[in-house]
Symmetry: C2
């Protein structure tokens, strides 16, 4: 029996919802045929007597699931013999790496670059000061001077991580994976070398980072560094 | 025999390199002890006669590997009986979802929101126009009017995806995973409803999106929509 997909309908036979497309590809991935039930925005409230405010929604026999991610989780569970939707491998870890390099490191270095300088051995300080002044266009202490103003943007940039570790102990799920280490490395960089407090006390990112620091008999936490207030 | 880790050293016994921390946690994850060789920035050029410009570098017996990601790949291959560094599961897929919701959707909707309106059935247009005007503060055609100016920022926001799909066919690796569908849904949303060309012709993101469109007998490509120039 085909799975019913309530799919958002535009004019002229156009099915455009990005969330319904996620579900359609997931259903195809699991080898499932669909019985499409087109709905307009203004008709979503009529699906199953108004339980759902958004599509996609699927009916698999008696079971109804709404939301593309929950649909994927359901399909993974209900159809374990079809290829997994949650393959790992280096691809997704690489994506996490490119995210941290793009979204986190460039913002974070500006908050701690003068502290880094001050914690280098005298042999390294001239190299570091001149190479970073070249990169930033101003001396490292000037870069760092505006960090209180830049902190909110840094914290906001962590949103994808924050929302994920609110739900899962680690990016790897119940256990850490290289993607966790890729990102935690950035915060450990700061913790070892700077007393500056990156996180608000109740930030789920701080809690997750604490979990990474505790791994392997507290290897990360035992390294010489500054205390986290969070 | 312990694996040698060339680890960046600060003053006062501080080991702060984010990239070396990635490698340290990865080595611990694989149950490997390390023999730490501290190096200063200005000493990196002396490792193995100057082959490396950055650390971490490891020596595992006769084998030398540089770069935290390549080290992780090496460890995964060399120590397959230890827990995988590249676990998948829903955690990383959720991270990809939060990234697309945070970095992509808010930018993309501004480029196509009036086109969406114009491709809705007449029954839906008043609801859409008023709810989106409330969200954006101006009518949808005004939101979209500045799209040529906003396009470069949209394209730049795709950097983590772009760099990943330059290297791997899919985020899932050789085969697609739900993370691919999560992100491709955004671009399919645009393709179905808007003639606006999001990608430069040689953008690796466009090539990856084309691969997703080809999946399952071209399911995505066959959906009524606009042609991609890229």
């Amino acid at each position: 029996m085909a799975i019913v997909l309530y799919d958002l309908m535009g004019a002229d036979d156009r099915y455009f919802s990005p969330f319904c497309w996620r579900a359609r590809w997931a259903l195809a991935h699991k080898g499932q045929n669909i019985d499409r039930h087109p709905v307009r925005f203004t008709e979503i409230k009529d699906i199953h007597d108004g339980v759902y405010e958004t599509v996609p929604v699927i009916d698999d026999g008696e079971i109804t699931v709404g939301g593309s991610f929950d649909i994927a989780l359901y399909l993974e569970d209900a159809y374990p013999d079809a290829p997994t939707l949650f393959a790992g491998g280096p691809g997704l870890a690489r994506f996490a790496e490119h995210w941290v390099q793009t979204a986190v490191h460039p913002r974070l270095v500006r908050l701690i670059v003068s502290d880094i300088h001050d914690h280098l051995t005298p042999e390294d300080q001239p190299y570091f000061a001149s190479s970073r002044e070249k990169r930033f266009g101003v001396p490292v202490d000037q870069v760092q001077a505006s960090r209180d103003d830049e902190l909110p943007d840094f914290r906001k940039a962590l949103t994808p991580l924050r929302k994920t570790v609110e739900e899962f102990p680690f990016l790897g799920g119940d256990a850490p994976a290289f993607a966790d280490y890729l990102i935690a490395g950035a915060f450990q960089w700061a913790r070892v070398i700077s007393p500056y407090q990156l996180f608000e006390a109740d930030d789920p990112v701080a809690a997750w980072f604490g979990r990474v620091l505790d791994l392997y008999d507290g290897m990360g936490r035992q390294a010489k560094g500054y205390e986290l207030a969070a």
